[in-house]
């Protein structure tokens, strides 16, 4: 009952925004809120079910965001021939030398092992760079002002969502294999590092997705507003509701997105509820609460941790692909860990870790706050400074810094929830 009331309250907040402000903003908040809820679900799988402390969420989101570019944008003419295949070859050389080094590490012993690993890794690195560098230069030379990257496959963009999940899952497998044996704080630092590295790669490897030059005009799964406005049937129906065609078209497009996101969210919740209440879910919670006991019962803790780490990261990757689809552009410069890692953590903790509905509620609520705190901060500052003389330095400073209120607010919300309601708004059963 309480839970339904909480969800209704969040719905009401969005509706109030719609009635007092504009429906465009309200639906904008709703759409990102839905994606945030999916992200929170993914982090909740790792933290709530299994107690894994992942602070590299931003990396998985960014990696998922790569998928719409590689799947749905049209291929760049001649890029594959110019250097694409050689880049692939370089990747294979790189992976093969790492694999060889791992094999030597397992088989050989003593001094031979150290020397062998070093020789293979250093040799492999130079071969890789020898193939990779000229290939990259060739690809980036193609029409650099607009392209200069490999381009995509030209497939439907919806396909990119599961592919984004796959990208993130593949990365999670590699990270999990190396880092999951470490204790919790070390895993946190390791994931923090991975997140930074993935962002650095996305920003600097121009051949992949143009780096900080951004990819724009990524195809959309929904019609464009201008097309709707040109469609006489649509204009007529909008007029029937008494709305002007421009507003009608933007709201309609946002509603379509909301429908798509909601479908994904509901499917994920259904699946995760099923999983959480299955023997598998009970095993996960048993591992989380007492690893030693679970291991003594014959559960393979490392394998289960790896599994849940991959699943949770895949969900985050999918959400990343959805964000890029919603914006129709990939801007690697905007992936900030405060926004895409730590904010998601606030969502999970506030909502209630271990409870899927809690994560969803936290995602929607915290996103709403994240958007609204800024205007509220401005209003507050206007109120505080209203008595001061115009043009005073303090007044200008206070008004300019109102924008930074949101980080502080999020921190205070997190600290208050941890202190007074550590199990969150919708606690685990």
């Amino acid at each position: 009952m309480r839970n339904i009331a909480l969800f209704a309250a969040v719905g009401l907040l969005v509706a109030v925004e719609g009635f007092t402000g504009s429906w465009n903003t309200a639906l904008g908040i709703l759409n990102m809120g839905l994606i945030s809820a999916i992200l929170a679900l993914g982090v909740n799988m790792q933290w709530g079910y299994a107690g894994l402390f992942n602070v590299g969420v931003v990396g998985f989101v960014a990696l998922g965001g790569l998928a719409p570019v590689l799947i749905s944008t049209p291929p760049v003419e001649g890029a594959m021939a110019a250097g694409g295949w050689r880049i692939l070859l370089a990747m294979i050389v790189g992976i093969a030398s790492i694999g060889l080094a791992i094999a030597i590490n397992r088989r050989a012993a003593g001094r031979l092992r150290v020397l062998g690993i070093l020789a293979v890794l250093i040799g492999g690195f130079f071969v890789y760079r020898a193939i990779f560098d000229p290939a990259v230069a060739a690809v980036e030379a193609i029409n650099p002002a607009r392209e200069g990257n490999l381009g995509g496959l030209g497939l439907p963009v919806l396909l990119a969502w599961p592919v984004g999940g796959l990208f993130a899952a593949a990365a999670a497998w590699v990270i999990g294999k190396t880092a999951l044996g470490l204790r919790s704080d070390y895993l946190a630092i390791a994931t923090l590092g991975i997140g930074e590295i993935i962002i650095a790669v996305m920003k600097n490897e121009d051949w992949l997705a143009r780096g900080v030059k951004n990819v724009v005009n990524i195809p959309r799964p929904v019609p464009y507003e201008v097309e709707l406005q040109a469609d006489p049937g649509f204009v007529e129906r909008a007029a029937g509701f008494g709305i002007d065609p421009v507003t009608a078209s933007t709201v309609f497009v946002k509603l379509l997105y909301a429908g798509l996101f909601l479908a994904v969210l509901l499917a994920l919740i259904w699946l995760s509820e099923k999983a959480l209440n299955s023997p598998w879910g009970r095993m996960m919670r048993a591992i989380r609460d007492n690893e030693v006991a679970a291991e003594a019962m014959g559960k393979n803790v490392t394998a289960r941790h790896l599994q849940i780490f991959i699943l949770g990261s895949a969900v985050c990757g999918m959400a990343g692909a959805m964000i890029v689809t919603l914006d129709s552009q990939l801007t690697p410069g905007t992936y900030n860990p405060l926004r895409f890692t730590f904010l998601i953590w606030v969502m999970v903790i506030v909502g209630g870790s271990g409870n899927n509905w809690g994560a969803v509620l936290g995602g929607m609520l915290i996103w709403y706050l994240w958007i609204k705190v800024e205007p509220w901060g401005n209003a507050l500052m206007d109120l505080v400074t209203s008595g001061m003389a115009d043009g005073s330095a303090l007044k200008a400073h206070l008004q300019a810094s109102a924008a930074h209120m949101r980080l502080m607010t999020m921190g205070i919300v997190l600290l208050l929830v941890l202190r007074f309601a550590p199990r969150g708004l919708i606690p685990e059963k």
Partner: protein, 336 residues
């Protein structure tokens, strides 16, 4: 002559900057390792503590400059530093009182404390931005160079210039002084000894009548002082920007873990190891090699192993390698 030129180039672009950077990392890592040793959690707010302490210093420096006070050839920030350390110490004690103490009394799991420190990180980040904004700020004044590149060339007749910035020397000198003071404190004073005892074995320390609240209080004060000093030195050497300080968290943690969490000596070694590797892997060795190799064999490319944007990858790779092969770090740290 070519050999000397190569060495000078190497010193100018790799050794000197890396030493200064290493000293900054070591001071940061000492703070992380100290909190870990006493309170037993990884403090994610450390980067933002550095930023906040530096923000205090910058504001005070501006105040002093406004009053017309300066240290002559030394940066004014050095005069503001003690006051900023006192302010940061107060913030640390207030944070401990209002936030961390509750969880300590409850004996919460370390991972909960890490999440709590995430909340503190957000708040501190917000306060720093509120105080001083998000822009890049340079606040070094006084003499810029101890050795000027052009003067060096003229004096020695070499092709390569060697520049030694005063902030780099200042960083190393301050770091040595601070570390000496810290080790003297830990080894020779009653409080320092009780801190080490508390870090080694909490129960035994409690049984011997050591007051845990006092130990924790000193740990926060020292961590705040170290963070502020590290932040100010980094800011003087490069520049201050709130987000950069947040990003320093990764190399600082890598230094502390590589050295062995809880081991002060390890934190220093880790800091220098990370700094030297980061700079060496991202430096383009073309110039040095051109001097060293015979004519005609000079490399065509930059001979840069990794682009500077991937410096995080270096600290990260070292971190992972050390953790996989020596999980407690180079100097035996704790593993809880």
């Amino acid at each position: 002559m070519d050999l000397v030129n190569a060495l000078v180039a190497l010193a100018n672009f790799v050794l000197i900057p890396a030493t200064a950077y290493g000293a900054q990392l070591a001071l940061g890592a000492l703070g992380v390792t100290l909190i870990y040793g006493i309170l037993r959690f990884s403090n994610f707010a450390h980067g933002d503590t550095m930023a906040l302490g530096t923000a205090f210093t910058i504001l005070l420096t501006w105040g002093l400059q406004g009053l017309g006070i300066s240290l002559g050839p030394l940066p004014t920030a050095l005069l503001a530093l003690p006051f900023a350390i006192a302010l940061t110490g107060l913030v640390m004690l207030a944070t401990d009182r209002s936030v961390y103490r509750f969880y300590r009394k409850k004996k919460a799991a370390p991972v909960i404390l890490v999440i709590v420190s995430m909340g503190v990180m957000f708040v501190m980040n917000g306060i720093t931005r509120f105080l001083i904004g998000v822009d890049e700020i340079r606040f070094a004044d006084g003499e810029r160079f101890l050795i000027n590149a052009r003067a060096f060339k003229e004096a020695t007749g070499l092709e390569e210039g060697l520049a030694l910035r005063s902030t780099q020397v200042l960083t190393v000198v301050t770091a040595v002084a601070v570390v000496a003071l810290l080790f003297w404190f830990l080894n020779n004073t009653r409080t320092g000894k009780s801190m080490r005892a508390f870090s080694d074995n909490e129960d035994l320390a409690l049984l011997s009548g050591i007051n845990p609240e006092r130990v924790v209080m000193y740990a926060w004060l020292i961590a705040g002082a170290l963070a502020t000093t590290a932040g100010v030195l980094y800011g003087l050497d490069k520049s201050f920007k709130a987000f950069t300080y947040f990003q320093l968290l990764l190399p600082i943690f890598a230094s502390a873990i590589v050295g062995g969490l809880g081991s002060p000596l390890g934190a220093i070694a880790g800091g220098f190891l990370i700094a030297y590797s980061e700079v060496a892997f991202t430096y383009a060795f073309k110039k040095v090699l051109t001097y060293l190799l015979p004519d005609g064999m000079a490399p065509e490319g930059l001979v840069q192993l990794l682009s500077t944007d991937y410096k995080f990858a270096v600290s990260f790779a070292i971190l992972i390698i050390v953790l996989l092969f020596k999980p407690t770090g180079l100097f035996k740290g704790k593993a809880v």
